[in-house]
């Protein structure tokens, strides 16, 4: 266990900077994600912060079945993120295409393009379920993600 990876593990325990990517979601899940950052659920107490650019984000939160126009952006945003990066997929239509399976303009789930670490099923899931996902992600990082 080199010093560097111990440092990385210690650093991650404190804060996860989240970047939110909407690939054509009906903004039900987006509003629940935004609810996390408002006073009622307030995820800043875990050090989770919503950042404006993928360049300073650790976690990419993806919502929505990937539609035609947002297809090339998903790859580009993922490549822009710095290396220790994770992907959390929120919502049923993001995880498996949900109601929009078989449509001519949706690709379905982001795991066809990116390695996804955690899924939150629900249409939309409750904000507490999204907090669970972040908690599970932190555990996975600690175990050596």
């Amino acid at each position: 266990m080199t010093i560097l990876s111990k440092l990385k593990k210690w650093a991650f325990k404190r804060s996860l900077w989240v970047f939110h990517l909407n690939t054509g979601s009906c903004n039900g899940c987006d509003i629940e994600i935004l609810d996390l950052f408002t006073p009622r659920h307030d995820v800043e107490r875990f050090g989770i912060k919503l950042v404006g650019s993928p360049r300073h984000a650790d976690v990419l939160v993806v919502t929505g079945p990937i539609t035609g126009k947002s297809l090339e952006r998903v790859k580009r945003v993922y490549e822009q993120m710095p290396e220790p990066k994770f992907v959390v997929e929120v919502g049923t239509c993001g995880s498996t295409g949900g109601l929009f399976q078989g449509s001519y303009n949706t690709l379905g789930s982001a795991d066809k393009l990116l390695p996804v670490d955690a899924y939150v099923i629900g249409c939309p899931p409750r904000p507490e379920a999204i907090i669970d996902a972040f908690a599970k992600l932190m555990e996975k990082i600690e175990k050596g993600g």
Partner: protein, 401 residues
Amino acid sequence: MSVRIPIGPIHPMLKEPINLTFYVEGETIVDAEPNIGFVHRGIEKLAENKTWFQNLYLLEKVCGICSSSHQGCYAQGAEKVFEVEPPEKALFIRTLMWELERLHSHLLWLGVIMHEIGFDTLFMYTWRDREAVMDLVEMISGRRVGYSINTIGGVRRDIDYNILVKTIDVANFIASRAEYYERIVLSERTILDRTEGVGYLSKADAIRLNTVGPTARASGVKRDVRYNMPYAIYDETPFDIVFDDGCDVLARIIVRIREMIISAEIIKWIVFNMPKTGEIKQKVTPFTKPPENEAISRVEAPRGELFYYLKSKGDLKPERVKIRTPTLANIVSIIHMVKGHYIADIPPIVAGIDPCMSCMDRVVIVDVNKEKKTVWSHEELWRYSIKWYKKNYLMVREERR
């Protein structure tokens, strides 16, 4: 020479990405061109491959914030196709869910527009007050977003007594908060400077461009589907149309706040006059075939007139489902409103019509005379507009006086 910086969707306020190309001369905007379709999931084609009852849950997901408007509008149209009359109590519950959705949608939008201006405190307060409506709706329908309470021929769940009592407390709470926000918006100098006289849309233009909903009513156009074509039980509820002839973003804020107060009154009226007993659903199973006809259904969604056209060929799957969301009608008016304003005014104007596809992910600014094309993300545009206003704040104030 066009500089194109590939920046993905940036801003936390992201709802549905829209891409507007603005043609500018120096600082003022000459023309704009919308490029939408980031959220086109082919729902109309999918609706043709699903049965009438499965469509209830598909069409609820057209827009996450006004899901009950979409499902109610579809259910109302499908009842015309099936030639089935929903019972009285079902209409009461359906209208109650529509009005509760208007409350939480307007509160959400009030937070978004305050954030677009850079006034985050009110964003936090409005979204904290909105939680009261979300909890109530979760008790009634079983989920915070996407209530799926309508079905073809009525409603799926009854409301028991103690939830009705809570509804009155929530309605009073939201009405008092709405009055408080109206007082704040009219007295707070920082808000007035960013919204007064911004995004001007005269009454004649509002009618000519067929704008719908609060955006049109803020330009003095007295049109509301609940007022002109009353559906469900809107002909019995105490409803007076809210409109203002300020024609700018400030008027749009005031119209939406006052609509919240009217919705709170309608909710209280519904709770007092709801029939205690009675059927909530007609006998229509998911395997009955409708007769062959077509139907049109209109509903006043929080953002404006929502239009559905349903055509059936007599079998289990609809022949055609046409949806026109209110935002599509207001996009043409964005182009008209933006002309002549500064680049810094783009965020409040676009957020002003409360688009279901607000938050621009990329703004392409084409400088007409220098032929320089730069691509800005919403974050940079938002930071630029705050910085720009700090610099020439006095000049703008004189100009608008």
